[in-house]
């Protein structure tokens, strides 16, 4: 038998699964004991080097990274103090010193202790901060001007390869944080930097390093949303009238992306970032449609400011989200449950917006349809939650429904007394439904045990 290509790395969970399953296969007479041993051996061997060299748990590594983070921050603060008395030469030397030391530590880690995750993580974090400290101190010593944006971009460009070369999870999170910072800071498509991180995220996806992948996806998609909304929905933006449709299309695409990546049955809130964020966007934007006064996309390019790189990037993303969502629906619609249909039918509003641009719909069309959509959608979600015994779906439907009622109710001049009563009724409905649902679940489980 040729075992040349059989050294496969599997996670402890996968190995555990294989152990229990192979025991069953043996009991069922499908395989012999020696075949089982060979099978397990084949995977164990691949698992061994990683396991033995990983002398630290993730908790340790987290603490070590935190320590490095604090040291890095301390170095920046020490240098920010501005040692005027030292003179330019000494200060220049001092600004390069942490950088060279951090580089040396990284090199030592790779050369001498390639399997020590703790050393790799901590040296990578130190290098990350040493780069910032060096640029900052040089700028300070020589009065080199440049706004925060430029500083962050240079820092990002000089440290992004660290993620790949040192495979550092902490630096990945720090880099994601800087991109998020840039997305909140400027109306530029800084989310494009995430493209550079995509191969790494894909690797995490393949290696089933789900925890890191989920957090990275949350930050990346959150940054993308902020950047697109901030970069398109402001008064003089040429895309201002389209921002609501672009955001909704993005929400639908996120929703589809989550299910495409993790499967339609995977609906845990934290561990399916794209779908969860997609649902939040769809819920929020659909509520915005229920108001009058939202601008219809009649004038495509406003005259105040011309189209730039940011606008073209957002438009390209818009087209991408339209195509992706349409393809996802076309390919998977046979497997959709009611909740999938409820979420993805909001895509119709994007299409309606596009058609409305050419045919000039009356705004009432959007307002009436969106009110109906939320009313029907939320009730369907609540029923689904009850039928499928899922509290999250039930509460999601309830929140959506309640927000619709509250919004409608703020539209008109209703006296405070009635407003108060409605708040009390909605609040009581929430508590009562949740208590009733919990009791129903308990009764079911008792019935099942009996």
């Amino acid at each position: 038998m040729n075992f040349k290509n059989s050294r496969k790395t599997v996670s402890p969970d996968q190995l555990k699964w294989l152990e229990s399953e192979s025991e069953l296969w043996k009991e069922d007479g499908l395989i012999q004991q020696d075949t089982r041993d060979k099978l397990l051996d084949r995977y164990q061997k691949a698992e061994t080097p990683q396991a033995t060299n990983q002398n630290y748990s993730w908790g340790n590594i987290l603490l070590i990274s935190l320590g490095s983070l604090l040291i890095g921050g301390g170095v920046i603060l020490l240098l920010a103090h501005n040692w005027e008395s030292f003179g330019k030469g000494a200060r220049t030397f001092l600004s390069f010193l942490p950088l060279v030391l951090a580089q040396g530590l990284c090199w030592y880690g790779i050369q001498r202790k390639p399997n020590s995750i703790a050393l790799r993580e901590s040296s990578a974090v130190l290098l990350f901060f040493a780069v910032a400290a060096c640029i900052a101190l040089i700028s300070q010593t020589y009065h080199i001007y440049g706004e925060l944006e430029r500083f962050l971009v240079v820092w990002l460009l000089l440290t992004l390869p660290v993620v790949y070369l040192l495979r550092s999870a902490t630096v990945l999170m720090l880099i994601s944080g800087i991109i998020l910072w840039l997305c909140c800071l400027e109306r530029e498509p800084y989310w494009l930097f995430y493209v550079a991180l995509t191969p790494y995220l894909y690797k995490l996806y393949q290696r089933q390093s789900r925890l890191l992948l989920h957090w990275s996806l949350w930050i990346a998609l959150f940054s993308l949303t902020i950047s697109v909304v901030y970069g398109s929905s402001y008064y003089t933006s040429p895309l201002d009238n389209w921002a609501i449709y672009i955001t909704l299309a993005m929400g639908c695409a996120f929703y589809a992306l989550g299910y495409w990546l993790f499967g339609l049955e995977h609906d845990k809130f934290w561990s399916n970032a794209p779908t969860s964020l997609g649902i939040l966007i769809i819920g929020f934007i659909s509520l915005m449609f229920t108001w009058y006064g939202r601008t219809l996309p009649y004038d495509l390019w406003q005259v105040e400011s011309p189209m730039g790189f940011n606008e073209y990037s957002i438009l390209t993303l818009f087209v991408g989200t339209l195509v992706f969502t349409a393809l996802f629906i076309a390919r998977r619609y046979t497997q959709f449950s009611v909740s999938h249909w409820v979420a993805l039918s909001s895509f119709a509003f994007v299409l309606l917006g596009l058609v409305g641009f050419f045919f000039r719909f009356n705004e009432s069309v959007f307002v009436i349809l969106s009110n109906l959509y939320i009313l029907i959608g939320s009730v369907l979600l609540m029923f689904q939650g009850i039928n499928r015994n899922k509290l999250m779906l039930l509460n999601g439907g309830l929140v959506w429904f309640s927000l619709l009622v509250l919004f409608r109710f703020f539209d008109s001049d209703i006296p405070f007394m009635y407003k108060g009563i409605i708040f009390i009724v909605i609040g009581s409905a929430f508590i009562a439904t949740n208590i009733w649902f919990k009791k129903k679940q308990q009764a079911k489980s008792i019935g099942g045990e009996a």
Partner: protein, 184 residues
């Protein structure tokens, strides 16, 4: 493994080269650039990374600069440099094409304005770094004065780039001025 080591080595070199080039470029402007005096008024803010500094608000910031061209806010342009009667720097015009003659200029961003009334500009060299002790003293030294006519920044200009050399009060470098006048 060999490739990743080589790439790490290249990354280290680039990480050292970028700040190295920043120093080289700044030194080149300071040694070869033409001197301009910009009237200014410093105030004292703070940067989480680069520490304490004084923001320099220039007189050229306060007046719109004429331009025959239709410029957009945030657009990069070349501000042509001149001097007023007292010998202080002023911007005479804003153009989008890089001047080919010996005309000294600075590349900067356009702020609000229009081709009729002129444009406000964003002067880039608006930070003078100082220690936590010195920065507030600089601010106090300047704010105590009734006029700020005698406060200016010496800027060197070379090929569209500018570098701040020193901040002067009463023709004295700011630190000397603080020492001499005993500003606390």
């Amino acid at each position: 493994m060999k490739t990743s080591k080589l790439l790490l080595l290249i990354l280290c070199v680039v990480q050292l080269a970028v700040p190295g080039y920043m120093i080289y470029e700044q030194n080149q402007i300071l040694s070869e650039g033409k001197v301009y005096k910009f009237k200014t008024q410093p105030i004292d803010p703070y940067d989480p990374f680069r520490g304490r500094y004084v923001t320099l608000t220039y007189k050229v910031n306060a007046e719109p600069v004429p331009s025959e061209e239709d410029l957009r806010r945030g657009e990069w342009v070349y501000a042509l440099l001149g001097k007023d009667e007292a010998g202080f720097a002023i911007f005479t015009n804003l153009v989008t094409e890089k001047p080919v003659s010996d005309q000294n200029h600075i590349k900067l961003k356009v702020g609000w304005g229009g081709s009729e009334g002129g444009y406000y500009v964003e002067v880039p060299f608006n930070r003078y770094y100082a220690s936590e002790d010195t920065a507030p003293k600089i601010e106090r030294a300047v704010w105590r004065r009734e006029t700020v006519d005698d406060v200016y920044a010496e800027i060197r200009v070379l090929d569209g780039k500018a570098a701040l050399k020193e901040l002067y009060v009463d023709e004295l470098p700011i630190r000397e001025f603080i020492k001499k006048n005993g500003v606390n």
